[in-house]
């Protein structure tokens, strides 16, 4: 048996040890070897727009005026130049649906609209300036795409966060439906669990599948009896719940099995909560030490090993709180797991939220100790300039943030360079969309959002800079949906969608 070895990554300051499950020697999953590789969609979000100094982030058009004639933004050029042939830059795409929203402040409206193309419902989440708003009022593109390309995978989609800690609408891009948010998961250990669903009970495979089917059948029956005599509002909520249960039921047979118990005699003190005392007295099910512990996870040598895409142990985080200090490690782990999931066809739809839209964090790992949101207010010719003796340094710091985000995007592209069954690369079969809820922090404008596209899933020509004039981003969302084979006449709020975005392909 060809067991995977584990690597440990020593990163960050001092003692932080981050170990990933090893993701090499990828055997094709059952049905994958012979068929055409699947199409995937990835969305990248970072908050508060970009530095708006000329051509710092945005490309500079060349003299010929053609789409292929441009130079990359000077601030991010070092990181993205190697990927130029895979990138498609845009300008002139507006989020007018957010700009014209009346509920909520600009950050809330922007992040809510990004993938939904919709306005916000009234609600009680307090925004940065005290205005209140609720969730977005429509399904988001990633979730629409789950119904188009994500029906056969074990997991419908992943919503990942990197320090997206705001527990309200400011941290959410993904919606299963109107006002049904999917909050991002910030903890890579939980992402791992979502991928491999390493449930504690370590049964023989048939038993665990049987159990889950039976348990879920029971839940469906309970839902049925609960739905009698319910108000309309509650009925809607129970329907939501039922949809999720049904979805899990449908996918459960294709979910990887939980890991088998470690061979007797190899266990040492794992440091986890509950020891596995070999508990088979209840008919084959013991307990795991994993559920219920979010502390550092045991000794890597205790983890079970697997072949191919089936996984090894959980990522171990040694004393890393999920705060801004640990963002590089968190991003590394989250993106690695996302890439694994895409490669191994565990899922075809991923969203990644780098920090919530309020973004009141420092980024000490790139030597920025100021609050990034506040820095974003300086991102171009600031009207309050006179008050800021540190203006230049502050702008430099904001650019460091942009550059770090560009590095994260590049690192995701690199992770998608793995070869597929037919000899193509994963990146060839993936479309990545990267955007922010504003174009620039100090104007708080939703016009001219810096959307960047990468990958070749839709066959859109890359290595271009396409300058649009006053196009609504709903059109872009529609184009992506149609490109993936979906059918719709419009996306999001129809008042802001006039059809496909001509010229993007």
């Amino acid at each position: 048996m060809n067991r995977i070895t584990r690597r440990q990554f020593l990163r960050g300051a001092g003692s932080a040890i981050v170990a990933l499950p090893t993701l090499v020697s990828l055997l094709p999953r059952a049905a994958r070897a012979s068929v055409t590789p699947p199409k995937r969609f990835v969305f990248f979000y970072h908050p508060n727009g970009i530095d708006n100094a000329p051509y710092s982030f945005r490309p500079k058009p060349g003299p010929s005026g053609t789409e292929a004639d441009f130079t990359l933004g000077w601030n991010i050029d070092p990181d993205l130049a190697p990927w130029r042939s895979h990138l498609l830059w845009t300008s002139g795409i507006n989020m007018r649906v957010a700009q014209e929203g009346t509920v909520g402040e600009q950050h809330q409206r922007g992040i809510g609209a990004l993938l939904t193309g919709q306005k916000l419902a009234p609600g009680d989440f307090v925004g940065n300036d005290g205005q209140r708003a609720g969730w977005a009022t429509g399904i988001s593109l990633d979730q629409t795409l789950v119904s188009v390309i994500g029906q056969t995978t074990p997991i419908g989609s992943l919503q990942l966060g990197i320090n997206a800690r705001q527990r309200n609408n400011s941290g959410v891009v993904s919606y299963r439906g109107s006002e049904i948010p999917q909050l991002p998961e910030n903890d890579p250990r939980q992402t791992y669990r979502s991928l491999f669903f390493t449930s504690g009970a370590r049964d023989e495979i048939p038993i665990h599948v049987l159990r889950r089917q039976s348990v879920l059948d029971g839940v469906v029956s309970q839902l049925g009896s609960m739905k009698q005599r319910v108000s309309q509002e509650d009925s809607k909520r129970l329907d939501e719940h039922l949809t999720i249960v049904r979805d899990l039921e449908k996918r459960i047979a294709s979910l990887p099995p939980p890991p088998p118990p470690a061979p007797a005699g190899t266990q040492s003190d794992g440091g986890s909560s509950t020891g596995n005392t070999g508990g088979t007295q209840t008919g084959g099910s013991g307990t795991s030490g994993s559920t219920g512990s979010t502390g550092p996870i045991g000794n890597p040598s205790d983890w079970p090993s697997y072949e191919g895409c089936a996984a090894s142990g959980e990522p171990a985080l040694s004393d890393l709180p999920l705060s801004s200090d640990a963002m590089p490690e968190m991003a590394h782990l989250q993106l690695e797991l996302a890439a694994l999931a895409l490669r191994c066809d565990l899922t075809r739809v991923v969203t990644v939220v780098f920090v919530d839209a309020q973004d009141h964090i420092p980024m000490p790992f790139i030597s920025v100790s100021d609050d990034i949101h506040n820095l974003s207010h300086l991102s171009d010719d600031d009207p309050y300039n006179a008050q800021f003796p540190r203006r230049d340094a502050s702008r430099d710091n904001f650019r460091k943030r942009d550059r770090w985000q560009a590095q994260q995007f590049a690192s995701m592209l690199a992770k998608l360079q793995t070869q597929e069954g037919d000899g193509s690369k994963v990146l060839d079969n993936t479309l990545l969309l990267w955007g922010s809820e504003l174009s620039a922090g100090n104007t708080h404008s939703h016009l001219d959002i810096p959307f960047v596209i990468a990958g070749h899933a839709l066959g859109w020509r890359t290595n271009r800079f396409v300058r649009f004039t006053n196009k609504n981003h709903n059109n872009l969302l529609l184009s992506i949906l149609l490109g993936f084979g979906g059918s719709a006449a419009s996306y999001g709020d129809p008042a802001y969608c006039s059809g496909e975005l001509t010229g993007i392909a």
Partner: protein, 490 residues
């Protein structure tokens, strides 16, 4: 939907499982700082998997380690397991089951029995019950279409009471009281509330409110600028959080009122926090009574949380006082306002650096915010006491400008005087009443709740700020005993 804290307490009380499985669940959205808003909390597909994992492991552990607690009868007797499943389901669903619900639970039991015997049947049935919406959601359905404000059923009221007072599931006695119709009268409700308040579990409900009100959970990820505060480590942030949590436990245990909250001369310190006591470090947390540490507003965790990464923050501290203690929040900053605090200086005091707030646009709010916030200036950005800043003596003078309660107005100096004065004001007890009632209902208050709010405020003020009195008054209020308007149904 049960919050993480409620879920953990519930499986602890139902099954004796103390592993806190909800640590793996997603964090709840916060509405006004509270995690139990029914409109904000939604099930997700990822969430369901976590609940499933928890249900599986909790059920397996219960049958393996505590099977005798689950079995209501002689295990060898015919029907004992089925009877035990039904008994557990009543406790987990917090009401009697319908025939269909019982059948559904027993069908899962039968599947498990067929796969591996009675114990496995019991385990599967428990897992299925723990994953059912009747368990995960607080069932406050109406029996009929809602006319207007309608009283909760007795079982629903029992559930609301127990999650409010205990942060957990009703015990058998409370369910029995509901079954016997005892909760249909105010006297019956009062009797149960008195019983529940005497139970140590009542600390949980109070601490849950106080913790969310102060944002204690967020303290763990508080970070400071190492250049300014070389002493700061992540471990210090965790110690701040634990120290503040211990302080709140002490308040609930040893005084249980607003006066203790605001004026107890107490600090819980471990080795990380010895700089605040000036005494020899102790490995574990111990109680100290150092000078300058009077009440909540002088706790290092509080002061560090309401501060900048590299400086104190008269704005954040002032806004806390105005918003969370007086319920008289300042307005939002105007669009385009410069929100960046002035850089720390080696020459000026904080007060001097914030002088720009005297400009006309800013002054309208900042004369109130800063005047409250400067009272804290004896504490730096990590809550250390200081008499001087950059060679200048600290001026911790200020006032609560335009406070609604006249007793709060007039010059003040320092946190101790501030705290002392706050304890004398009905505006403060009224404000805490409003926050606590809002938390107890899991929704924002609306005009229909005003009579309930006044009742709670009156009772809380009359009692001299006793938390028990507040809990009693909330439980007695019409808003607490009634269904929410349809659009805010939990």
């Amino acid at each position: 939907m049960l919050t993480r804290a409620e879920y953990d307490y519930t499986v602890l009380d139902l099954l004796g499982d103390d592993t806190r499985p909800a640590q793996n669940f997603a964090r709840e959205p916060l509405t006004d700082g509270y995690d139990n808003d029914a409109n904000a909390n939604r099930m997700s597909s990822d969430g369901l998997k976590r609940y499933m994992e928890a249900a599986e492991t909790v059920a397996a552990r219960a049958v393996r380690d505590r099977r005798d607690l689950l079995l209501a009868c002689d295990p060898n007797a015919v029907g004992c397991y089925q009877q035990s499943v039904a008994r557990f389901a009543r406790r987990a669903f917090r009401r009697p089951l319908t025939v269909e619900e019982t059948h559904a639970a027993l069908r899962v039991y039968a599947d498990g029995y067929a796969a591996g015997g009675a114990n496995l049947g019991l385990e599967w049935a428990i897992a299925s019950i723990l994953l059912s919406p009747q368990f995960l959601y607080r069932d406050e359905r109406l029996a009929q279409a809602p006319p207007e404000l309608t009283r909760l059923s007795d079982y629903q009221l029992a559930t609301r009471l127990s999650y409010f007072v205990w942060a957990s599931t009703p015990d058998d006695a409370l369910l029995d009281a509901a079954e016997a119709g005892a909760l249909a009268t105010d006297a019956g409700v009062s009797a149960e509330v008195e019983r529940m308040l005497k139970d140590p579990r009542s600390d949980r409900g109070k601490l849950r409110f106080l913790g969310l009100w102060l944002g204690v959970e967020e303290l763990e990820t508080e970070r400071k600028d190492e250049a300014t505060y070389p002493i700061w480590t992540r471990s210090l942030s965790r110690s701040w959080q634990q120290s503040l949590a211990l302080y709140l436990e002490h308040v609930v245990r040893d005084g249980d009122n607003v006066k203790t909250l605001l004026t107890s001369q107490t600090l819980y310190a471990n080795a990380d926090l010895s700089m605040y006591t000036g005494l020899a470090p102790t490995a574990d947390f111990e109680r100290f009574t150092p000078t300058h540490r009077t009440g909540l507003l002088a706790q290092p965790g509080f002061l560090a949380h309401f501060a900048g990464p590299n400086q104190s923050s008269p704005v954040r501290r002032g806004v806390f006082v105005l918003d969370k203690l007086l319920c008289q929040p300042p307005g939002a900053p105007p669009a385009g306002a410069n929100l960046i605090p002035p850089a720390p200086s080696t020459a000026q005091t904080t007060r001097e650096r914030f002088a720009a707030h005297a400009q006309a646009d800013c002054a309208v709010c900042h004369e109130r915010i800063d005047a409250a916030g400067f009272l804290f200036e004896n504490f730096d950005g990590i809550g250390q006491w200081r008499d001087r800043e950059n060679g200048h003596a600290i001026d911790a003078g200020g006032e609560l400008v335009r406070a609604r309660d006249e007793k709060l107005r007039g010059p003040l100096h320092g946190v101790e005087e501030l705290s002392e004065r706050l304890t004398k004001s009905g505006q403060v007890t009224d404000c805490i009443s409003r926050e606590w009632l809002r938390f107890s209902l899991g929704r924002t208050l609306d005009v229909g709740d005003l009579c309930s709010l006044y009742g709670v405020q009156r009772a809380f003020a009359t009692s001299g700020g006793s938390f028990d009195a507040l809990v009693r008054a909330v439980a007695k209020s019409d808003a607490f005993k009634a269904h929410a308007a349809p659009e805010t149904m939990p």
